[in-house]
Amino acid sequence: MTDERDPKVSQRYRELGREEPPGELDAGILAASRRAAETRLAPLVPPTGRRRWYFPVAAAAIITLAVAVTVHMERSQPDAEDIAPPPPAAPPVPAAPELRKEAPAAPAPLPQPADAMQERRADVQPESRARADEPSQPQAVPRESGAPARLLGQVAKAESPEAALDRIAELRRQGKHDEADKALAEFRRRYPDYRIAAEMLKKVERP
């Protein structure tokens, strides 16, 4: 310990006297200390010190855990894409129609789209239905035939040029030439440098 005392100052300070508290004050304080020591054992003493933090901390931990589990469960819900048919390049499988029928029910438990990714996913869902549409499933076609060119453009964003050409060819084959023309125009706008093979060109252009 660094001692900053000065001997003369210390001595003079001591000469000021050694006052003591009065006896009754001592007695009062000691009595209070004894009473406190006895009441310490009382069962209804509220938690003090560090223990008073236990309850709010435990409550906060439980709430945090509950929220985390809820969020996790919501995020792990299967969405339409997860159960959608295989990519467009893959040939349609017989199970596709059943899956397609289930698809509209799937979005119900999904949270509202909140970001760009979810918006994009929502736009893709109709496309995946259209992609799964087979000639034997004409009842689903009106959904797509009513889709505006904007939708086709957005669809084109999500599919490869080859898949887009296959789809246009399919439209031609079904006799939906207006839609095929619009889709082809959108295709050319989107892929101006894409060279369509002669055989495919016959399929996608208006006969």
Binding site: M1, T2, E4, R5, D6, K8, V9, S10, R12, Y13, E15, L16, G17, R18, E19, E20, P21, P22, L25, D26, G28, I29, L30, A32, S33, R34, A36, A37, E38, R40, L41, T48, G49, R50
Partner: protein, 177 residues
Amino acid sequence: MEAPDEQLMLAYRDGNAGAFETLYLRHRGRLFRFVLRSVKSRATAEELFQEIWMRVIEARERYTPQARFTTWLYTIAHRRMVDHWRRGGLSLVELDEHDPPGDSPDPARQMEAREALARFAQALQALPVVQREAFLLHEEAGLSIAEIAAATGSNAEAAKSRLRYAVAKLKAAVEDD
């Protein structure tokens, strides 16, 4: 061998009233003088002294020996004193009649010694509050610079500076004799 203060306080925390009594008797005089020389009157000093010990009793459940018991005790005392000063209780220590030690039969020398002591008491009274507190904590309570800083919520540099100023002024008062 006497039990350390910290051990006594822990024992009191655990319900041993006798441990508190030992602790109290060990510190009562110094703490009382620290308070007495920081305030206006003896009555106020007694009131503050009692309140400080009541706070010690109330805080026993939270006591952990992270520092010397003395530092903890004077931290409580400092806070209580600050409350008192903020309420307008800041004033000069009331001068009592101090009888200087010694058995000089010479009345003239006795008078001279009494006057010297009165000058010293006045110099102590005249110190700024923080300097007087630092001096009393060091001289009366035996706290180190670091402990003074801890008890008063300041830093070591400030505590050292306050103490040095206080000692220098009091030394000047002594050397004037």
